[in-house]
């Protein structure tokens, strides 16, 4: 599936400044692996030592928190828009 990922400014140093990246992935796990493969410096910012999505990184698919969509088992649909947003805000 073709998926567009919005890159937060804190990650753009790994994407040569690009704020959007087009990927092809069927699942969130696949998408993260692809991002890590293309932008090696980004890997340790996406997942922790045990391979889970970092606690302070929120991932949204079409504006919905991916944890409400099944989390890492979510299967992408054509044209999904993914947002990575630092969670340290609010309250």
């Amino acid at each position: 599936m073709n998926v567009t990922v919005e890159i937060p400014s804190a990650f753009r140093r790994f994407t040569a400044g690009a704020s959007k990246v087009d990927c092809q992935a069927a699942t969130l796990v696949e998408l993260l692996s692809q991002l890590e493969g293309r932008f090696p410096g980004m890997a340790r910012h996406l997942r922790d030592e045990s391979g889970r999505v970092r606690q302070f990184l929120n991932i949204y698919v079409n504006e919905e928190d991916v944890r409400f969509l099944g989390g890492e088992s979510y299967t992408f649909r054509e044209g999904d828009r993914v947002m990575l947003v630092p969670s340290i805000a609010g309250g």
Partner: protein, 421 residues
């Protein structure tokens, strides 16, 4: 500048100096203000504090304030009320233990504890040169920011969920701030503000100014300790939305111990949430390693944060202290509001009803014991959430202005009314 504080990553420890930034670019973890504690003489500071005006600026050495700061607005230092009648209601015999209410329902100027965080955040906003300040809010923060920021000459723009209580909307609009209502819940408003912070050069108090802002919450803890006679309680019961307040009361107590301003004492931290938005209490009760986000559905709108930024640290604070978390249904929240009002003349907003209802459960469960010293944190004013009470309180039909009508009324409702000749 020669300030004795800087931002430090809570996980990797990297020093980020002082700048408008909330998370570490190395590991994406939150930043926190830390102080050069070795340069501080606790006993001397305590002596100075006692000679200062009764507002939160008296704790200046332990807040991230600019050099030569001269306070002009008396925020904080709310009453710590002994709650004897409330204790009796919960079956605590007189003279056995101590129960107090920390009453931020009367915090100046906007009647919630958010006045504290805003007071500190605006100094950071000024210092970093922002002309426009902003926030995402469930209501109280928007009220507090609108009140103080407009007065200080900032351009002010507050974001709230569109369906907030009418009083919380009006209490922001009256100050002349730009009020942006968003069709969505708080978590969606908050995400929008993260994007605003990336694109506009604004000081968003709970996004890029968040580490400084959050330090203001410590003053709740400093005041509790000072008002107890420089002593820590055994238990505190704290409402949780984003989860920051409970961690900052803990930090305040830890700093007072470190600086030898109070005797060390293990304090248990108890978190209170509404059942309809309980990601943190749910994680405590089910012993989850990470909380699971929820879609809020509760009358306690000020606590309706389904994805709490400080959830992980609130969990840790509760667990490490040997405390617990509980939650309250809408009916229990309303009963809690009435209990506080009837016993102690404290008219709390729905979040205060949550705190009272949860505390009652903790007493019943034996997790809080009668012989201990316990402080309940009431963080907002009931006049802002009267909508919730209209279904609960029966207001009787009007009478004609004649004594015979009133006498007939008394005869019909005689039970419980005394003083008749």
């Amino acid at each position: 500048m020669s300030e004795n504080y800087h931002l430090r990553c809570r996980e990797c420890g990297r020093n980020w100096g002082n700048q408008p930034r909330s998370f570490c670019e190395e590991c994406f973890s939150p930043l926190e203000v830390t102080y050069d504690y070795d340069s501080l003489n606790g006993p001397a500071i305590r002596w100075s504090i006692e000679s200062r005006p009764r507002d939160l600026w008296r704790y200046a050495e332990l807040l991230p304030l600019p050099d030569r700061f001269r306070p002009s607005f008396p925020v904080g230092f709310t009453p710590l009320l002994p709650a004897l009648r409330l204790a009796a209601r919960w079956g605590v015999p007189p003279g056995v233990g101590e129960l107090f209410i920390k009453n931020d329902a009367v915090c100046f100027p906007s009647l919630s504890f958010k006045d504290r965080v805003v007071a500190v955040a605006l100094l950071a906003a000024r210092r970093f040169g922002f002309e426009t300040v902003s926030c995402s809010s469930t209501g109280n923060l928007a009220n507090a920011l609108a009140a103080q920021a407009v007065r200080q000459g900032f351009q002010t723009c507050v974001f709230v969920p569109a369906d907030l209580e009418a009083a919380k909307i009006l209490n922001s609009a009256v100050y002349g701030a730009r009020l942006v209502r968003i069709d969505g819940n708080y978590d969606q408003v908050n995400r929008l503000c993260s994007q605003v912070a990336e694109k506009l050069d604004w000081g968003i108090v709970n996004v890029n100014l968040r580490p400084y802002y959050a330090e203001g919450s410590k003053t709740v803890g400093f005041e509790i300790a000072e008002q107890l006679g420089w002593r820590l309680p055994d238990n505190v019961v704290v409402p949780m939305a984003g989860g920051s307040l409970i961690t900052k009361i803990k930090k305040a107590f830890d700093e007072l111990i470190l600086l030898q301003m109070v005797e060390p004492r293990p304090v248990k931290f108890f978190g209170a949430q509404a059942t309809g938005c309980s990601p943190i209490s749910d994680a405590v009760k089910r012993n989850l390693e990470r909380f699971e986000p929820q879609r809020p559905r509760t009358i306690a709108r000020s606590l309706a944060i389904g994805n709490p930024a400080d959830g992980p640290y609130a969990l840790k604070t509760i667990r490490d202290s040997g405390g617990w978390a509980e939650d309250a249904t809408d009916a229990e929240i309303l009963a809690g509001i009435r209990t506080l009002a009837e016993t102690e003349a404290v008219f709390a907003e729905t979040a205060g009803g949550v705190t009272a209802a949860v505390a009652a459960k903790l007493f019943r469960q034996g997790r809080i014991r009668p012989e201990e010293t316990t402080v309940l944190c009431v963080t907002g004013n009931g006049l802002k959430t009267t909508d919730a009470l209209t279904q609960d309180l029966v207001i009787e039909a009007p009478l004609p202005p004649r004594f015979d009508e009133f006498e007939a009324y008394l005869d019909q409702t005689a039970a419980g009314i005394g003083g008749r000749n």
